[in-house]
Amino acid sequence: MPVDVARMTKVFERPKSLTEARYTYCPGCHHGVITRIIGQTIDELGIAERTVGIAPVGCSVFAYLWYRCDAVQVAHGRASAVATGIKRARPDLVVFSYQGDGDFASIGTAESLHAANRGENITVIFVNNQIYGMTGGEMAPTTLVHQKTTTTPDGRDPATCGYPIRFSEIIATLDAPVYVTRQALYDTRRIQDCTKAVKKAFQNQVDGKGYSLVEILSTCPTNWRMSPTQANEHVANVVTQVFPLGDLVDRG
């Protein structure tokens, strides 16, 4: 029987605030899922026309291509400071930064921490894939103990490289942030939770409540040398042991 498209109900579509541009991400990487969640959130809150996104340096350097909203591409690690500048200049805009773990928790340590400490009314999406994806799989501040990377070929040795940094927990010690949470995407339940968290983090800003941070445990099948399925299992079984999921601060 021929399919009558006109009589079919659409149950799933690309968020209006995402463009048609194709992702530059590797298969199985969660950056694409996160991008979609943000797009959906922007749609649901109806804020596309007053949102400014910040693209960092890292695999998501092209983030400005995916959203139908204004965007600013910035220097490595400085996204939270740039977000501060935009938001203070135009408090009516909704400003979100999108940052990898190297960007947010290594080179941008000072900018990330102090934007949080000032309680800037911004939304930070912190994508923790425990590796430097863009530059070929070097150690990140979040790399697990004994995890092999191109700069820890024998595995991360805490004696010389220290331990994976739980940056969200550090931010959670501050008085200003209104919402700090760690989420994951390894199954549909987590994707739903993460979607709620992202929405809340944007809603907080729209409501003028202050600084919200959503850390998302992400995968890097390419540099982890795993299949997408193995990578998901690795997050569920191993990564969450070091980076426990859940809300760290909720003063909303």
Binding site: D70, R78, A81, I86, A89, L93, E111, H114, R118
Partner: protein, 351 residues
Amino acid sequence: MALRQLLRGNEAIAEAAIRAGCMCYFAYPITPQAELLEHMARNMPRLGRTFIQAESEVAAISMVYGAASAGVRTMTSSSSPGISLKQEGISYLAGSNLPSVIVNVVRGGPGLGNIAPSQCDYFQATKGGGHGDYHMIVLGPSTVPEAAQLTTLAFDLADLYRTPVMILADGLLGQMLEPVELPEPIDPASLPRKEWAATGAAGRDPNIILSFDLGPDNLKRMNEALQAKYREIRKREIRYEESDVADADLVIAAYGSTARIAKSALQMARAEGLKVGLFRPITLWPFPYDALRAVADHVDTVLTVEMSAGQMWEDVRLAVAERAKTPFYGEMGGVVPTPRSILNEVRKDAR
């Protein structure tokens, strides 16, 4: 009626920035520009504008990048070691065509150096400093009133050319008190809208601010556009001052505070019957090569005087191109040349 006040250079720059419609100011404390930061801390919030004492100069310049992206007039200030930290941000501002004003109240270097006046950051300011093929417009005030005037100009040029502009002052100018006639404050809302800014894509396609393109051909085009802009700036914005050059045998080339001291030396030299003039670049980039060359055509000597080991001296020699002798007299480490020490050099060279 324009108001006449007794102000330090640092305060005059701060107040002129406010009157030019600077909406967001971000900086980290450092001597000898602290009064600038403090003036902004007292006055910006009172006017409903943004003042942030940033966690570092890196953060401050990144905040400038954000505010400039959002289309408002914005400024940061610092002194030499802090300006070194801002180089990353300045390169990004230039690459992303973002109007912004950066004040460097130069102190002795390298390293921590000291807090005394110096002109040792000329190379960094005029030749790049950060990475990439870029320039900033660099303005070198030599008096407190001029510091205020050039601050107004800096904001106008930044907007006109969508470029970072640096005010290259020094510790002497920053601390010096002089009567200043400040311009009337402008209403920031009266400034032309920046159609390119990231202000929310309502009823238009998204605006994207970036300095990036992976494709060499595209990045080459972006670079060519920058160079075309720099050619325009070179054509239209060169500024300098000449004093007593018409009949001069020797012309002193100096900028900033040093030029002001050199003026006293010039008067002393003239009193002794020596035919001395002064050539003072006001735009250090673009440098007034042609104007100085025209001067060099009818003098014997162009004596460069700087508070450095001879940085502007390189531009002077490029301009003079062997048409005259080009001796140099410089002081370093925060030592300020006196009218008498310059006069001694003039006497040597005028012989």
